[in-house]
Amino acid sequence: MNRKVGTTQAAMLIVNTILPTATVVLPAIISNYAEQDAPLAILLSAFFGLLIAYIVGSAVRCTNGAPFLTWVGEKSSPAIAAVLGLFMLQFYLDTSTTILREFVNFLKDNVLINTPISILCVLILLITIYMVRQGLEAIARVNSLVILLYLLFVPLYIFGLTDEMNVHQLLPMFDHSLAELTLASITPTTWMSEVAVLLFLAPYLQSPQKARIIGWTGLIFVAMLMMFSLIIALMVFGPDLIRLSAYPGFSAASIVHLGRFIEKLDILFISYWVLSIYVKFSIFLFATVECFKQTFRVGSSRPFIGTLGLLIVLECLYTWQSTEKLNLYNKEGRFLVFFLFNVLVPLGAVGLDRFTKAKTKRKGWGA
């Protein structure tokens, strides 16, 4: 069932790998530091993101679409690959957990106030397991349809808020120091670094050699959509009120109106967001399962998806019960972990490739 994913489809996968939680979590964090200069912080993080995409793309080019951990095992030693695999599995389990928790928290805050979290988690997980079992190509196809829906939602969002937007709310620009802007761009950079998921999607890509282009295209779209959402929220609410809102993008959606007959459309936008976060969660669950498969060298991962899902649900229910803890992790802890696994690991892979190639060359000369 696992057919190959085209380059455009893969770029769209990268968009929804990053965007759904980014639109929910980031605006509050960025605008807290940078206020009306928030778009500059996104530009800065997009620049760092493109650099990370370059590193990840280079790593994928080195592996040439081979399973990442198997390749590491071949180039270094199986023991190193196993240890790295265990750490990466932990990382992907944690990341999937936080995605699930952000998903559930958002639903609890906005729509399903009385529904128990455990029920939400289990239902979401069952649906996502079903998606993952259909394979990456099926997820990519669904994702392409979800992305196409932007053609409906973006104009609706813009035209519905035309009367409410005031471009002067973006002034004064450059009001914040470079230090503040860098601080504001750190968290979005960690999100951009999620492009590293390509390491585990590579075996399913039609052209793994184009991984850099896939990463760059995806990130440029993410940056554009993030800018779009944040700039509109800023123009509607201004830099002061936006800091108070937990979900500024969705608060703006609740103000969308066309005349007096179409209003209160937030539930429509929330439904669309739910579609896209299902795709995100399924991509990360897929990457987790891939990581597990490569670490433990199992032929078929199908029997283990449920178990991994159970681990994710349990961690989601018992580790991230407190929203403040999750917010603190997103704001401060996430950068270090993501830098380690999404930047240093692919950078190490590129280094390993160069090292082994140099070694082979030297051996060749020696012979």
């Binding site: 399903l112 106030i113 529904t115 002061d240 103000i255 209003e263 209160k264």
Partner: protein, 410 residues
């Protein structure tokens, strides 16, 4: 027994379907909801006094009038007044008297009593921004006395009073422009901005008696009606004073909130100050440029407008350019007086409802940062000098070239 594996799984799954019968945790039956169209809040005995206007589905009322299939003798809405130490405690207490759970997503208006506005509105705004079904797009008003009384008053041309008041303020800001309608998120934006001040339109009852019986709306001329009045000025979170309609109109010119307006003016100022002409201002644009001069800010306010002459009470030949110029100058003088009068009162109140702090922050951020650091914006605001420059253009003079009064002059 030769049951296939698939059938066995289906059979095992069947009992699981029964779990769906219990329904969703967040389900709400429409017949169990009390859809509120308006709410009012007062501060009494150190407690929140909340009044909720709930649409009565059995009255046959539609949102814009007309009658449906229900009973027309029962009121189109009912009100509940409750008290609590917090707003939510008051909301919960409605469940002790009502058969329906309050549902706020369709609210149109919120009225704040003067007592509450003097006490502070932060907690109320917080509730509106925090609560899931509260609507931040409700229009906010202020009432001189008890806000709850406003919600009891029936309206004639519309049965859904909340929607009716919303229409009133939308029409006022579109056609009269004395003040804009303020929604809850706009109030929050204004109070959290650099200015830290906001305005709220007043809603009042024109008579002493509240018309709260359906039979009373059968009269052609109600003794008491709902009307929009002055403009309440909030600083920080508290009401600090009022602007008259005329002063509010001047403020609308300063803050570029004019959509359409009618200006009355003396067509021949040298013959007397009595207004005898009307001008419909169709386009208006205000630009504000702050600059630092010596030791204080000078705000250049450029107001440009154009429109059509709609009424003339003096003898005048409108084919002559001199007559038009004379009237344009009179109009400009009129707008200048409105602006000056408004600025004097705003400065007296010490509340920056003009948004000058925002403009200064945008154009002179370094000095503004220092002002904010020194916490002396109030002093800086008091020392501001405004220089209004008005340019009015009469683009058309309507369907007559001369005033009707000129017929008698022959």
């Amino acid at each position: 027994m030769n049951i296939s594996k698939k059938n066995l799984i289906c059979l095992l799954c069947l009992p699981l379907l029964s779990t769906l019968l219990s329904g969703c945790w967040d389900d709400r039956e429409l017949s169990e909801l009390g859809i509120t169209s308006g709410s009012a809040y007062d501060w009494e005995d150190n407690q929140w006094k909340a009044t909720y206007q709930v649409i009565n589905p059995s009255s046959g009322a539609s949102s814009t009038g007309g009658t449906g299939g229900g009973s027309t003798s029962s009121p189109p809405f009912v009100t509940f007044t409750v008290k609590g130490k917090t707003i939510m405690e008051a909301v919960e207490k409605t469940n002790l008297t009502s058969t329906r759970q309050m549902f706020f997503s369709h609210s149109r208006i919120t009225v704040l009593g003067e007592s509450l506005a003097r006490q502070g509105v932060n907690q109320l705004i917080d509730m509106f921004l925090r609560k899931q079904d509260a609507r931040e797009t409700v229009y906010v008003f202020i009432a001189k006395g008890e806000a709850g009384d406003i919600l009891d008053q029936l309206m004639q041309l519309t049965k859904n009073q909340g929607a009716g008041i919303q229409l009133m303020i939308e029409q006022e800001s579109r056609l009269v422009s004395y003040y804009p309608g303020i929604r809850m998120f706009e109030l929050a934006m204004a109070l959290s901005s650099e200015s830290g001040s906001a305005i709220l339109p007043e809603i009042l009852l024109t008579g002493r008696e509240v018309m709260d019986e359906t039979q009373e709306t059968g009269r052609t001329d109600l003794k008491t009606r709902l009307a929009l009045g002055r403009l309440g000025v909030l600083k920080g979170e508290k009401l600090v004073g009022w602007l008259s309609q005329k002063q509010a109109f001047g403020l609308s010119f300063m803050t570029d909130k004019i959509k359409t307006a009618t200006i009355v003016f003396p067509s021949k100022p040298e013959s007397g100050d009595k207004p005898d002409a009307s001008f419909v201002l169709q386009k208006s644009r205000t630009t504000v440029h702050p600059k630092w001069e010596n030791d204080h800010y000078v705000i250049d306010i450029h107001i440009k407008g154009s429109g059509v002459l709609s009424e003339l009470g003096s003898v005048m030949d409108l084919n002559e350019r001199a007559s038009i110029t004379e009237m344009e100058q009179a109009l400009e003088q009129q707008v200048l007086e409105l602006v000056d009068n408004s600025w004097k009162e705003v400065r007296k109140l010490g509340a920056d409802v003009t948004g000058f702090a925002i403009k200064i922050h945008r154009s002179d951020r370094k000095r503004f940062k220092q002002i904010r650091k020194d916490k002396n914006w109030d002093r800086v605001f008091q020392e501001i000098e405004i220089r209004p420059h008005v340019s009015m253009k009469i683009e058309r003079t309507g369907l007559s070239n001369k005033s009707f009064k000129s017929v008698h002059e022959k």
